[in-house]
């Protein structure tokens, strides 16, 4: 179980930060807790576009199984900095929607942020947040300076309560996850159907396994600019989560990558391009990303398909001289006809049936450019 824990203040020193650090250490057997700071976030404004810090913050929440909010109390409510962070999470975003949430808090005085916690519960219940906050189970730790000493909790009762309530939260997160899975199991599904292509028939299981086996991963953005599908390839370069399905292009890309991606998609929509290639280094190896316009047989735009794969093994072949004989002239025909390096099948393939993709790939490889 992966949980995120939000330090509810931008202050340099915070007992709420110490509380979360204690929970992270003490409950590591039950859940991995990732502590998120809010001090690096810009102040929320509906006129300010979300920056990289906001994007990363939202992503971390989205990909976690639950969120712990640790709030101090400023003027009987939650700090403005925490409110601002929640506004980022809920403005044109539903990362908190149905997300299991736990509210905790500690303070120097005896009140232990009780009124701020009450406000926070109301805020999390508002329709734009719509979080599933665990009711009851109030963690109200007063006299924080006495309780937190050297990263430990000195008060035995506080520790017992924390253990009981955090255990309840873990069960709560599990039950919500089960509820979601359980629902999907009751949906109708096709088990043994076939898709009949003009070139043959595949079972759904074969389709699934083909996508998991081909040596590159595929992501699909549909014609409404929504991330609609990704291939279930093991060891993906871009790690995707089913929680991201249905997101808009703007939601699933970091702000600095978004203009590039939108330009590509727009050029596919207006027909000025059919493919774009981007060579880059990922996770220490050479990777090629290829975007293709997915079009209907009549040319109508269906979406953008992104192929990502390591080309290390291909380049290794090349560097070992695997094609050195062919380069003398035998492959000349292939590169002009638009077919790939597989001489025999390409030679047999009728020219007009050659996928356009192959042409693009070839010219990218030789010119290094990506414009078509």
């Amino acid at each position: 179980m992966l949980l995120t824990a939000i330090v509810g203040t931008n202050a340099d020193f915070s007992y709420n930060r110490l509380l979360l650090q204690y929970m992270q250490k003490h409950f590591k057997g039950l859940a991995a807790i990732r502590i998120l700071e809010i001090s690096q976030l810009p102040a929320f404004s509906e006129d300010t576009p979300a920056d990289m810090a906001v994007w990363r913050f939202k992503k971390a929440i989205q990909l976690s199984d639950g969120v712990i909010f640790s709030t101090p109390e400023y003027d009987h409510s939650i700090p403005a900095a925490l409110k601002s962070a929640i506004e980022w999470l809920s403005y044109r975003s539903d990362v908190l929607k149905h997300k299991p949430a736990m509210v905790v808090g500690t303070s120097y005085g005896p009140q232990a942020s009780s009124r701020a916690q009450e406000h926070l519960r109301q805020i999390l219940a508002s329709p734009d947040c719509d979080a599933y906050t665990l009711s009851g189970n109030e963690i109200l730790i007063g006299n924080a300076a006495k309780v937190f000493v050297d990263g430990n909790v000195t008060d035995r009762q506080v520790q017992t309560e924390l253990e009981a309530y955090f255990g309840n939260f873990v069960k709560f997160v599990d039950s919500i996850a089960e509820g979601e899975d359980g629902m999907s199991m009751h949906q109708p599904y096709l088990d043994d159907a076939y898709i009949t292509f003009p070139t043959g028939r595949l079972s759904f299981r074969e389709v699934q396994q083909i996508f998991s086996t081909i040596p590159f991963e595929i992501d699909l953005i549909d014609h409404n600019d929504k991330f609609s599908w990704f291939s279930n390839k093991p060891d993906r370069e871009h790690v995707r989560s089913v929680r991201e399905i249905g997101e808009t292009v703007a939601e699933c890309h970091p702000p600095k990558a978004l203009p590039i991606v939108m330009k590509i998609i727009d050029s596919f929509k207006d027909g000025s391009q059919d493919s774009v290639s981007r060579p880059l280094i990922m996770h220490g190896h050479r990777v090629l990303i290829q975007y293709f316009a997915l079009r209907d047989v009549d040319g109508a735009y269906l979406g953008t398909i992104e192929f990502t794969g390591s080309v290390e093994h291909i380049l290794n072949f090349y560097e070992q001289g695997a094609w050195s004989d062919a380069a003398s002239g035998a492959s000349q025909t292939d590169s002009t006809s638009g077919a790939s390096a597989h001489d025999a099948p390409a030679a047999e393939a009728p020219a007009d049936a050659t996928p356009k993709a192959a042409t693009d790939t070839d010219s990218d490889a030789t010119s290094g450019a990506s414009q078509h």
Binding site: S39, S45, H76, S77, P79, A81, S84, H119, S126
Partner: protein, 186 residues
């Protein structure tokens, strides 16, 4: 009489700003200065080490005024973070809201008219660090604010205008009462 009217959001377009300008134009019993808060940074107890300049300016203006009006939108059933941030600055190193009469009004495009944010704001202003004198009752909740104003930005509905006038007149009495009480107290 002089009032500072705080626009409770940093958004470029705000019906609460329009509402405060409407009050400024309509009520000549008092001079109302509408103040925006975009230039006030997010509150942080450590950075910077002294209050940012706009905080000091706002604090001085409030100190010099007879009362404060806050136009409060509602974000997630509570007070927008930019307004909360301003109140935190005004309850940290300086305390110009202490004992200051405050009237809360609010507008939203939904029927509730920021009702829940206004309740939170009352509680916040009532906390010991702020210690404002919040004008009780008289909840001015302007719902469907997107239909409430005409082209010139004036309120259209006579019933709404009458109720706003009633609330504001009540606030003037409240301020006078408070001033007399303070004088008698001294």
């Amino acid at each position: 009489m002089k009032f500072i009217a705080i626009v409770g959001t940093n958004a470029k377009h705000s019906y609460n700003r329009m509402l405060l300008h409407e009050m400024q134009a309509r009520f000549d019993q008092a001079q109302i200065e509408v103040v925006d808060i975009q230039n006030i940074p997010m509150f942080n107890e450590n950075h910077p080490e002294t209050d940012p300049e706009p905080v000091g300016q706002l604090a001085d203006a409030i100190t010099a005024a007879d009362g404060v009006i806050i136009g409060c939108p509602e974000y997630n059933h509570s007070v927008p973070s930019p307004l909360k941030s301003v109140i935190e600055w005004l309850s940290y190193r300086v305390h110009p809201l202490a004992e200051k009469p405050v009237m809360i009004v609010g507008a939203s495009i939904y029927p509730q008219g920021s009702s829940r944010a206004q309740l939170h704001l009352r509680q916040i202003l009532d906390s010991p660090g702020v210690n404002a004198q919040v004008f009780p009752g008289n909840e001015f909740l302007l719902g469907q604010a997107n239909q409430a104003f005409d082209q010139a930005g004036r309120l259209q509905d006579q019933g709404t205008i009458d109720f706003l006038t009633q609330c504001f007149t009540g606030f003037l009495d409240f301020v006078l009462m408070h001033q007399q009480f303070s004088k008698g107290d001294a």
